[in-house]
Symmetry: C2
Subunit: 255 residues, 2 copies
């Protein structure tokens, strides 16, 4: 049975999409069968592989609103062991329709259930809010990875978000765990980054991943070439840090 | 009659809250009477002044869902010419309730109308999505400022967002204009930043602000002291760039 991991945070721009793609591809490099589902109407997952609206037949909009089977929305992007389901939200009307269809909080859990055996990991890229699409993702997932920047607003939102995960868990999905809190865009030149990392390891203990993702321009440039960072520049500290993260996730699994 | 400006973008983490606060305070420094309304359930506006749930009596949740008058939610934070309305969303249930109450897309426009003469500018900090709260903001505003990072995902989302602004405008608010596209976290050491800025000036012409906001650690540190950057370090390039932005907005006004 494949494990479903949500990548979620209410705070915007903290590296949710970047982590969904690059952790996913790193796990695929370690021969795990991966499906990344874009639960964010922004549609950044498809953009990361330079897919535009004409390349996409179906997405989560069609699965949730038009009730087409998930299998028809699975898109092969030419990477071994790695497939995606785009969001396929074309405008603000689609967006409101998608959020409304997701009032049925267990919709995603039911939609994914028949496909769990086809993959080792199903990764959910969440939108930057606590709306019905994030609730659907937390109701479907076995665990959640929470990317956090070493910045004031992102740290402030962590406490509130951990509370929401436990609220949504107790109401809709008692098995959800915290896979880990992931420090992203870590800048080792800034004293502030080290101070914050220190403080978080003390307060969160084993909830925080040992792997920190450094701020690395190769990570932010890779999507403009339609590639995950591992295929854009395998020697970059960005690619190596996501491979380390994948190892850390796999090690936890085997415990 | 005060001018209502929305600070909006579907992309997360591009500097919407930072711009709402620091442009607002810079305009207040130029003796304009300012109200900043937090339309984002994350509640970053109140956090920027270290206000917590116990400091806040009412917010936009109470105005939209409990129908209390906007005046009761206006919060004085001790800065001359500058007041805020927090969001006051306590959990994910409040968030869904707030988004649902905003299905009445002209709610904000009606709520603000009696107070427009009390301020020179009313600034709306929007959430990172195209949901009903952003639609409410675009339906109420005379103009919109769109912060953009010089990064792939942020640039990709600009085209889609400009289309949505014109869709929402034609349906709910024919007077809305683009106040400008604002480049944020501009890193002049990166070749990519200059290339992107060059490309955008060509394609967007006079839609793009001359002022670019540089990546500046004083900007991201200021909120942890509960201060806008101008009061945290007036000599920083961050504070100076937002003062320049305020001048540019005022110059456009006087044309
Ligand atoms: N480690 C990193 N180093 C440098 N840039 C990064 C890194 N991680 C992410 N970025 C860049 O930061 C920006 C935000 O990342 P991303 O879009 O993945 O965040 P997100 O949380 O998915 O945003 P949203 O809330 O809009 O969905 C992107 O432009 C991305 O390329
Ligand atoms: N010019 C800048 N230089 C350095 N850091 C910045 C700058 N502008 C914003 N930041 C930091 O980047 C992060 C994102 O900014 P901010 O929270 O204002 O964006 P946002 O668009 O409001 O995010 P959200 O989509 O979550 O509402 C914050 O930690 C902020 O302090
Ligand atoms: Mg994303
Ligand atoms: Mg914000």
């Amino acid at each position: 049975m494949g494990k479903i991991i949500a990548i979620a945070s209410q705070k915007g721009g903290v590296g949710k999409t970047t982590t969904a793609i690059n952790l996913g591809v790193s796990l695929a490099i370690f021969q795990k069968r991966i499906l990344v589902i874009d639960m964010d109407p922004q549609g950044s997952i498809a953009e990361s592989f330079l897919l535009n609206e004409f390349d996409i037949r179906y997405g989560m909009f069609d699965v949730f609103v038009k009730k087409i089977p998930l299998a028809s929305a699975v898109t092969d992007i030419g990477l071994e062991n790695f497939e995606i389901v785009p969001s396929n939200v074309r405008n603000e009307e689609d967006e409101v329709e998608l959020y409304t269809s997701a009032f049925h909080i267990k919709l995603l859990r039911n939609v994914i259930a028949p496909y769990r055996d086809l993959y080792d990991y199903i990764i959910l890229d969440c939108p930057p809010n606590l709306g019905t699409l994030t609730m659907n993702s937390l109701a479907a997932a076995q665990s959640v990875i929470i990317p956090v920047q070493c910045e004031f607003y992102s740290l402030k939102s962590l406490g509130k978000f951990l509370k929401s995960v436990s609220n949504i868990g107790s109401k809709f999905n008692s098995e959800i765990q915290i896979e880990g809190v992931l420090l992203t865009m870590f800048d080792k030149r800034l004293k502030k980054s080290h101070e914050i990392a220190e403080e978080m390891s003390k307060s969160l203990k084993n909830l925080i991943f040992n792997t920190k993702i450094p701020r690395n321009s190769k990570i932010s440039e890779a999507p403009s070439f339609g590639k995950p960072v591992a295929l854009f520049d395998i020697n970059s500290i960005g690619a190596i840090s996501y491979l380390h993260l994948a190892e850390e996730v796999l090690r936890k699994e085997n415990k």
